[in-house]
Amino acid sequence: MGNEVLISCRGICKNFGATRALINVDFELRRGEVCGLIGENGSGKSTLTSIFAGVQPATSGEMFRAGEHYKPHNMVEAQKAGVAMIVQEAGTLPGIDVASNIFIGNYEMFGRMGVLNKKKMYAEATRILEEIGAADIKATTKVAVLNFEDRKIVEIARAMYLNPEILVIDESTTALAQKGRQLIYKLIDKMRAENKGVIFISHDLEELERVCNRITCLRDGVVVGHLADEEIKVANMRPLMVGRDLQGHYYREDYDGTSSDEVVLDVKHITSENGYVRNFSIKLHRGEILGFGGLSECGMHEVGRMIFGLDKTITGEVEYVPQHKKIDSIKDAISLNIGYISKDRDNESIILNASIQDNTLMASYPKISRLGIITPKAEKELSDKQIERMRTKCVSGKQYVSQLSGGNKQKVAFSKWLAAGSDIYIMDCPTRGIDIGVKAAMYDMIYEFKKEGKAIIMISEELPELIGMSDRMIIMKDGAISAEVMRSPDVTDTKLIEYMV
């Protein structure tokens, strides 16, 4: 019975306040299937799987597990019904040890007249860790001392110890590095071999093409299509996710890497406090997209922060050349029309619990106040203009940013500097964690900035993006420039990686 349905749902709806996360979703997973769940951020993938795993209840609709009604009240109940999930954020408790984390909610398994048999628990935990191929993690270690990757592996162990028939892997925002990846692939293979089922959420479409034998795509909470077997190709997935053909270009199409000779920023011999950047110099020109690439600790993020006056420089200085002014603080930078978009969007760029309008105007209060008074009309005008220009998807400027999707949140972060009238943009990972549709719009916007004569520093961990957008690429290694590469069709990932390591 290879095609027996393991889990299914009919007419699932889920509302969060006025936001409809899922609308009449039907889904089924059969034995031996590895089903990839795709869709842009905010399309409802994680919501759907978390309902399967008992994290939250559906607003309406029915679920069936092996033909019977299924309605788990919590993750432990779901796990007992054979549905286990590895969640996207680390869901481990740092204060207690690995074994206690693995068996959390199920301590009665090791109970003997109300007393916990720790020895048995540790032995069992060690066995599971070995089984999934992570024998290097000790059951008695406190989770707090483990790194992010190992914490995820502890979660995998927690998902696996009851031998689930259905495994949900949610990798929609955070991705595992190599060690965890291999472990997950092995698990998926094993589940498939045992004729069980896997639901896999990942942003890495190539990865899904390799491991899945079925794909379901969600868009705005609605199932918009399925792919099976040979249809599973990245080329088929993209248009399904975005809802239209991504025709023509994604990045800019020209290979003209020239820009004006006019230097706007002159960075002279700067060194960062943490020592990641040493004696670093660079010039930024008007109308230039200057890309920064490198490994995460190469110092490129610090360069951006120092230029904006956010981090201190121990040596050297940053000069705004047109006015021969030194930039020492955020205040200086903003007064010279420099804007900074942080890598850490939710913590540094936006206020989640405030309206789009409040966020958009945060850097523009001095600009819109007349005799110290800011009128609601002036606020609305400036804010609505940015919403229109960025095509931010929202009900109105009064809507709270926390209700927006990742891409639209980032649009709000951009809007803030557009409203302030910035001419120089420092963008640290501007497209991190945002979906293809919005990404394409961002690239268009950045290119438009260039044509308007604005200057852009784009710090990125994604090489294709760097190659696709930059006029000039600065590859950093150990706090210094290891290569400077001009825009050309011949630049490849591999070439740049050589300079990075």
Binding site: A18, L352, N353, M362, Y365, V395
Partner: protein
């Protein structure tokens, strides 16, 4: 029916559902925002009926103005302080110190207005110390304010050590303790506060800091300066409150301002003002709360329940309001 029509119908219901959800969300927001006002009205009606009209008699209304005055004045400033989050436990003690110094100056022959300004300087200075500790020593404002409370109490006790209390020469400033003066003062303060809070970069910046201080800093808001301003504003209102309190009671001593901290906090919460601050902070909320606290105290007093039941009922109400208006999952009340 052709497929086109079917599709259209399906689409329409989806839109209808969406509209319905937005409507429901708006209704919920409206309820949360008007609940404090409704509560206040219900209390007023209830007490009016129970006291057979005595509650809204002219005498009692005057009494109400006097009772709520200090708290209303202080929560006008409090709105600025609480919009950046963090509790302050030093308000009562600082008011006592400010009023004591003011009285000493006045008794020493300093003109009334100058004495008052000295009082303002004292309370603004004290609040600035808390702001300094918060800004540069990175101590939780709650703890910083506890230290400030003890320092101020100590200073007041030192000042009154020989006599036990300082008598304020009431007859020379009798016009201050007048209902009309108080109403005018309050209306002016509320007007200025309202404009500052809603229509200037000060109010907007403070709410941004309450929402996300890092994002505010990166957007060019001078966080430290704004924190000082918030503390200074509440300092000014504390001094005003202190002046009226000491003129009314005629003496400055260490009992002045007792219970004020908790009353202010209760007012903030009952009004539906988030203690963590941010964009949900509404200027009118603590004022509504202050009125509610006063009406409750006064009404229970008229019914002869001031002490016996008063505290218990306030406590109960506090829990009911907090539990029903705050989104507990988000930990909005105290982060």
């Amino acid at each position: 029916m052709d497929t086109e029509t079917v599709k259209k119908n399906a689409n329409r219901t989806e839109e209808e559902i969406q509209e319905e959800l937005i409507r429901r969300q708006k209704r919920k927001e409206t309820i949360t925002s008007i609940l404090p006002v409704v509560g206040l009205v219900v209390l007023v009606v209830l007490f009016t009926v129970l006291t057979k009209g005595q509650f809204i008699g002219m005498d009692n209304l005057k009494l109400l103005v006097n009772q709520c005055f200090t708290m209303c004045v202080i929560v006008v400033g409090g709105a600025f302080l609480y919009s950046i989050g963090g509790l302050d436990m030093a308000i009562g003690a600082i008011m006592a110190l400010s009023a004591t110094v003011l009285t000493l100056a006045f008794n020493a022959g300093v003109p009334f207005v100058i004495s008052f300004l000295i009082g303002v300087v004292v309370s603004v200075a004290c609040m600035s110390v808390t702001a300094f500790i918060r800004n540069y020593l990175k101590v939780t404002p709650f703890i910083a304010s506890l230290c400030m409370m003890n320092i101020c109490q100590g200073l007041v006790l030192t000042a009154i050590a020989s006599t036990g209390r300082i008598v304020f020469n009431y007859s020379q400033a009798a016009w201050v303790d007048d209902t009309v003066t108080k109403i005018i003062t309050l209306v002016l303060l509320i007007f200025v506060g309202y404009v500052l809070f809603n229509y200037t970069s000060i109010g907007k910046s403070l709410k941004a800091i309450g929402g996300n201080a890092t994002a505010a800093r990166i957007s060019g808001i001078k966080v430290e300066k704004m924190v000082f301003i918030a503390y200074a504003i509440v300092g000014i209102t504390i001094a005003i409150g202190g002046l009226f309190t000491v003129v009314r009671s005629g003496v400055a001593d260490n009992t002045l301002g007792t219970g004020l901290n908790l009353n202010v906090m209760t007012a903030i919460v009952l009004g539906g003002f988030p203690l963590t601050g941010g964009a949900n902070a509404k200027f009118h909320a603590p004022l509504i709360g202050a009125l509610t606290v006063t009406v409750l105290t006064n009404g229970l007093g008229l019914l002869g329940q001031a002490n016996a039941m008063g505290y218990a009922i306030k406590g109960l109400l506090f829990i009911i309001v907090v539990a029903s208006t705050y989104e507990k999952s988000k930990g909005k009340l105290i982060s």
